[in-house]
Amino acid sequence: MIVTRALGKSFGKRGVLRAIDLHIGRGRITGLVGPNGAGKTTLLKLVLGLARPDTGEVIVDGHRVGPAPAYRAAIGYMPQIARFPAHLTGRELLETLVALRGATVEPDLSLAEDFALGDALDRSLGTLSGGTRQKINAVLAFAFRPNTLLLDEPTAGLDPLASRILKDRMLTERVRGCTVLVTSHVLPELEELADDVVFLADGEAKWHGPVGQLKKHTGQPTLERAVAQLLAGGALLAVA
Amino acid sequence: MPPMMLLLLLQGPPLVVSPTGPYTSIGAAVTAAPPGAIIMVRAGRYREPTVTVDRPLTLQGQPGAILDGEGRRALLIVHADHVTVRGLEFTNTGTAYTEDRAALRVADAKDCHIVGNRFDATFFAIYLAAAEDCVVADNVIAGRPGREAATGNGVHLWSSRNIVVRGNRISGHRDGIYLEFTRHADVRDNVSEGNVRYGMHFMYSDSSAYTGNTFRANGSGVAVMYTRAVDMTGNNFISNRGAAAYGLLLKEIQDARLFANTFRGNTVGLLADGADRALVTSNRFEDNGWALRLLGSTVSAQFTGNTFRRNSFDVAVNGNGTSATFSGNWWDGYHGWDLDHDGVGDVPYHPVRLFSLLVERAEPVLLLQRSLFVKMLDAAERALPVLTPAGVSDSHPLMRAPDRGSR
């Protein structure tokens, strides 16, 4: 469960997020949508502590996000651009993460098996295709049995098969009680997955509620059309 | 007939000094000795009043024969001609600030031989005043290095003539060897090191020579002052470092000749402050801070056939140049060509660098030595010779080093 209270963040003079209050529930998949530059990635980074909020706070499973790093043990994060050290292998990168977390953790590589990564885990990351790197990115995010998943454009660059495997895994994690927050530009895909939608624009959460309610509210048949309606219709604040 | 027997016939039997007699003190034996006698001193530590030798004789120490001043007195005064002191060990004169207390003093005497003795913790070790035709050879003189005022000189010659100082090892004194008002001294093959002030100090001692000596790690190497016609040949001036330290100082001297000496690792190799008509030939200057420093008043000195290698600065001049002339030396900093293959570079070499002039103006900028900026300054100087200070130049720089070594 992720709670944000009056969360604000600006970079220089550009205000990115203003007083965001969200309550992202466990066992649900929440889609984070909005126009480019709306602050979707920034929100994920605030949850991770990669960026520090100017105002307000973030609480992840009861832990206030601050300098203490322990809460991140239960977070899996897929960054948007999977640019890894070119001469290391995926397995070495994974081993590095294991070492950082303390050697007692046994990583869960079931997703690598599902992807049938095979020896790709043992090849230099620089020699792999973008899709394969994205698969490894996903493997790393899911490897430590997270309670919270922060996925930034997770299916970007994946072929349909891999995309389906990843989505299935997200659904499994939801059932397990994971809090899943996912950004995507592919709204039909999100519609397939998401229970709730957060619509970010102009630094504010203009909509936060179940997908069905949004469609009903806008009178549109699909999430994509509903979001387009939101983008065109300007201010429309309705938090269910 | 063996020579010892011959001596016995000429001089009678030796008088023997030992802790158990016949004589138990050297003084008693001297008093009893006929002129020309030999006194044998057996092993033992002799603590007795200062011994005065007032007649010709030979004092022959055996190993372990030690004359001990107990920190309170001079040990032996020679006041007669034809005296030989050999094989004795002198120790513990103590220090005396009001007198030039010496372990062994020769005063107003001729034909003395001081050979193969040891001097340990003595204030002055060997002091010759108004002596003539004497030999000081093969002695080992080890002072207690301390403050300058607390130690005298190793071999001190004052107002003497025809003295040979040869093969001694001198350390830990104020000046290792000191000559003042002495004529025709021949200082040869000594090693003088670790002395507080000078390895050798040479004043008002015309027509003398020193040859084949090594002066190492003294306060400064050798100072030759106010003297005419000194020959300096084949000496080594090594590792004399420190503020105002140099291998050799020539101050107010005329007609000196320096031949085939080696100056290595000194802060300043040769410092000339008024060395008129000096001939400096075939010497080696290596690894010095400055090989040569010529102060203003050096008139008509000539430098020929010398080798300059790995010195931080080859030549520094002070004041408005110098009338020293350089010709036919080898400089490792010379990069000229020899298109006519006569062994001499086609363009003159200017051994005074721009940076060394800057150092003359503000000495601490030495700390910038070997910085990239100073290197660029040097490079600029090579590219634009106009930057190089005029004045000192070698008109015939050699293409090959004249000494044994190679570039």
Binding site: F11, K45, L48, G49, L50, A51, R52, P67, P69, R72, A73, I75, Y77, P79, I81, A82, R83, F84, P85, A86, H87, L88, E92, L93, E95, T96, L97, L100, R101, S124, L140 | R241, G242, A243, A244, G265, N266, T267, V268, D287, G289, W290, R310, S312, L358, R361, A362, E363, P364, V365, L366, L367, L368, Q369, R370, S371, L372, F373, V374, M376
Partner: protein
Amino acid sequence: MTVALRLVRPALREAVRGRWLIGLAAALALAGDLLIRFGGGGDTTLVSLLDVALIVTPLAALVVGTMQVHNAREVTELLLAQPVTRGNLFAGLYLGTALPLAAALTIGLLAPFVWHGLLIGPLGLRLLALGGVTALLTLVGTALAFAIALRVDDRVRALGIALALWLGAAVLWDGVVLLLALLFGERAIEVPLLVALALNPLDLARVLLLLGTDAAALFGYTGAVVQHTMGTAAGHAALITALALWLALPLCFAAKTFNKKDF
């Protein structure tokens, strides 16, 4: 700290497999080998190599350090998402860059002396000093590079600043100091000059290394403060301390920046 050290191994692997690190070490070793072969392996060789060390080491550290911060940007984010403190991560990233580089430069400089059998001999102690100062200078340069690159996100601008810093420290600073010293040459410039040199880590390193070469004979000549600085163990300790400060201060600054930075 152990967490930080766990990042050094993958960083070393990455650097070694990237081959540029080995290339750098090999180039230095080749230069050294040629210097020994044609320079005789004595004092002159050592002094030439000292120049190489003083020019190449900081340049390499500054360039590699800034580029590394920017190249590792994404992987830094990934690592920051793990349950580790920023302090640990900073230490790991810094050590992961500085230690392999210091090792490569030091090994590259000293290796030819080892295979020419010169390490055991009269040069040995001075070679070790050269290695030590090279390593320290690498750490200093990398710390400065981190301080720059963490502040300046534009990689071209950061690299430009790093190169300007190198040029300033390697050349311009000494030029200005020389000029000022000559302008004020009549007065007591000894202490201000020493202070000015202490403000430049390259000057500190150079003076430290010069103490072991023929140029040390020169230092006897200058005044009492220089004498004391150059001639006593306490003076050497002061020089090394000043150089260590040049490591500590930029490193603290960089760590602080890293700690506050938004990724």
